[in-house]
C-alpha cells in the first residue's frame, strides 16, 4: 500500500503528539514520587559515609528518614568556612543545595553544605563531619560524601556515586570494598599540610602502612584520577572550615 505524503506527515504528527503527551503526562505524575526517592537516596549516601552499607540496606525508608532526622544536623558554609544562612535574601539549607549546580560556579562563590553526624538528641556531641564532594569521572560526573572524624584528619568513611562510569571498571567506585580502602586514612601530613588521599595506579598492592595512599582501580585510571582530583579540590574548599573546627583549635580555646 502506497500512501500519500500528506498521509505520512499527518500520521507522524499525530503519533508524535500522542506519544509526547503520554510521556510528559507520566513524567509529571511521577515527579513527586521520583523526587522523594531521590532525596531518600541522598540521605542513604550521606549516612553511608558513617555507617556500614548493610545496616542502611536493612532499614525501611521511614526508618532512614527518622534516623537521619535524629542523627544528622547540617549547615552551610562558604569558602572561608563561615556559616551562611541566607543568600540573595533567600534562606539556604544544606539539603536543598545542589552540589552539582554549585560545581559549575567559581569556588569562591559556591555554597558548601556540611552534614554533622551527632549523638542522638545532642547536636553538640559530634561524631563526625560529612562533606559532599563533586567532580568529573571518565564519562560523566562523579560525586560522594566524605566523613572525617572529629580530629578533622582521619577519614571515618566515604561513599561514591557516579552518573555513567563503565560498569565493572570505573563504576566500581560505588562498591564497598573500594570505599573501605579510604577508612582510617589521613588527609593531613605530619607537617600539617593538606595532602588528601590519593588513589594509586594499578591494583593489588598493600598500602595499609601509608596514610595518604589507597590501592587503585585496575582498568579505571581516569576515573581514579577524577576521584583524586575531586577529593583534593573539595578538601581545599572546605579547608577553612576544617581548620576552624579541628579539636583544640581556637573555637575550643574560647570556651
Amino acid at each position: 500500500m502506497q500512501q500519500s505524503n500528506a498521509y505520512i506527515i499527518t500520521f507522524s504528527i499525530i503519533l508524535t503528539v500522542v506519544l509526547g503527551l503520554l510521556l510528559s503526562g507520566t513524567a509529571e505524575v511521577l515527579k513527586p514520587i521520583q523526587k522523594k526517592a531521590e532525596e531518600l537516596d541522598t540521605k542513604k549516601q550521606i549516612l553511608g559515609a558513617v555507617m556500614p552499607a548493610e545496616k542502611i540496606d536493612a532499614m525501611k525508608p521511614d526508618e532512614i528518614n527518622s534516623f537521619y532526622q535524629s542523627r544528622i544536623s547540617s549547615k552551610v558554609v562558604n569558602i572561608d568556612g563561615e556559616e551562611v544562612e541566607e543568600q540573595d535574601g533567600a534562606q539556604v539549607t544544606a539539603e536543598t543545595i545542589d552540589v552539582g549546580k554549585n560545581y559549575k560556579k567559581d569556588p569562591e562563590d559556591r555554597l558548601y553544605p556540611v552534614f554533622i553526624f551527632h549523638e542522638e538528641g545532642n547536636v553538640d556531641a559530634v561524631a563526625s563531619y560529612i562533606f559532599p564532594v563533586y567532580g568529573n569521572g571518565l564519562w560523566d560526573n562523579i560525586w560522594g560524601y566524605l566523613a572525617l572524624q572529629t580530629n578533622m584528619e582521619t577519614i571515618e568513611g566515604i561513599t561514591f556515586s557516579h552518573a555513567g562510569e563503565t560498569p565493572g571498571l570505573g563504576a566500581r567506585i560505588t562498591s564497598t570494598d573500594v570505599q573501605e580502602r579510604y577508612k582510617e586514612k589521613s588527609i593531613f601530613n605530619e607537617s600539617g599540610e593538606l595532602v588528601s588521599v590519593v588513589m594509586q595506579k594499578g591494583e593489588g598492592k598493600d598500602y595499609s602502612g601509608e596514610p595518604h595512599k589507597v590501592d587503585g582501580l585496575s582498568g579505571a585510571t581516569i576515573t581514579a584520577e577524577g576521584v583524586n582530583k575531586m577529593l583534593k579540590s573539595y578538601l581545599e574548599h572546605y579547608k577553612a572550615y576544617i581548620e576552624k573546627n579541628k579539636e583544640g583549635a581556637s573555637g575550643m580555646a574560647l570556651n
Binding site: 500512501q3 505520512i8 507522524s12 503519533l15 510521556l23 521520583q34 526517592a37 531521590e38 560498569p167
Partner: protein, 227 residues
Amino acid sequence: MSTDTAEKEIALKESEALLSKRRKKLVTDPLVDDNPITIQVLGICSALAVTTQMQPTLVMALSVIFVMVMANLSISLLRNKIPTRVRIIVQLAVVASLVTLVNEVLQAFAYDMYKELSVFVGLIITNCIVMGRLEAYALGNKPYDSVLDGFGSALGYSWIILTVAFFRELWGSGSLFGIPIFDGISSLFGGDFQLATNGLMVSPVGAFIILGLLIWVQRTKTGYVEH
C-alpha cells in the same frame, strides 16, 4: 467473491479458542525451539551486561516482557494505519516511548534498580528482539496473536538471562538474589571449609562462557544446526 471468503476467514478465526494449539505454539516456540537468544542469537548485549546478579536481571526481564507485549500490541493495532515507508521510525518511536515509561516508573518506585539499570533499560530500544518481532510478526497479525507472540519471545529471552544470572551470581559472588549461599554452605562444614568464588563469572567473559554452554546443551538436545 473475494469479500465473501475474507469474511468467512474472519468468522473462522474468531471462533478459535482463546488458547488454541496454534496460539500456545506462539508462546512456547520461542522458549526453546526458536529461542531469540540461543537460536536466533539476538539481544546478546543486554544478556551479557545485566546478568551479574539475579535481582537486576529479573527487573530487566520484566521490563522486556512489558515493552515487548505492549509494543507488539500497539503496532498490531496500528498495522493497517502505519505508512509502510516510515514504519521503522514508527516502531522505534513506540518502543522508545514504552522504554522511557519503564524507566520513569523504575525511577519513582525502585530508585536503586533505576540507578543500576537505567543504562541497560534504555538499551531495550535497540534490543533486536523487540524490533525483530514487530517487523516480523506484529505488522502482519492480529493484536491478540501479536501479544502472545511478544510474550513468548520475551519469556524466551527472560528465562535465558535468568539462567545465566543464576550461575553467574552463584559462582561469581556466592549468592542468589543477594542472599549468601556459599557462606551458608561453608558454615555447615565448619570454619576450615571455604567455597571459593570465581571472579571470571563477574566479568562479561563469564556470561559468554555460560551462554556458550547453554547454547551447546540446547542445540545438542534440539538437534538445531546453523546452515
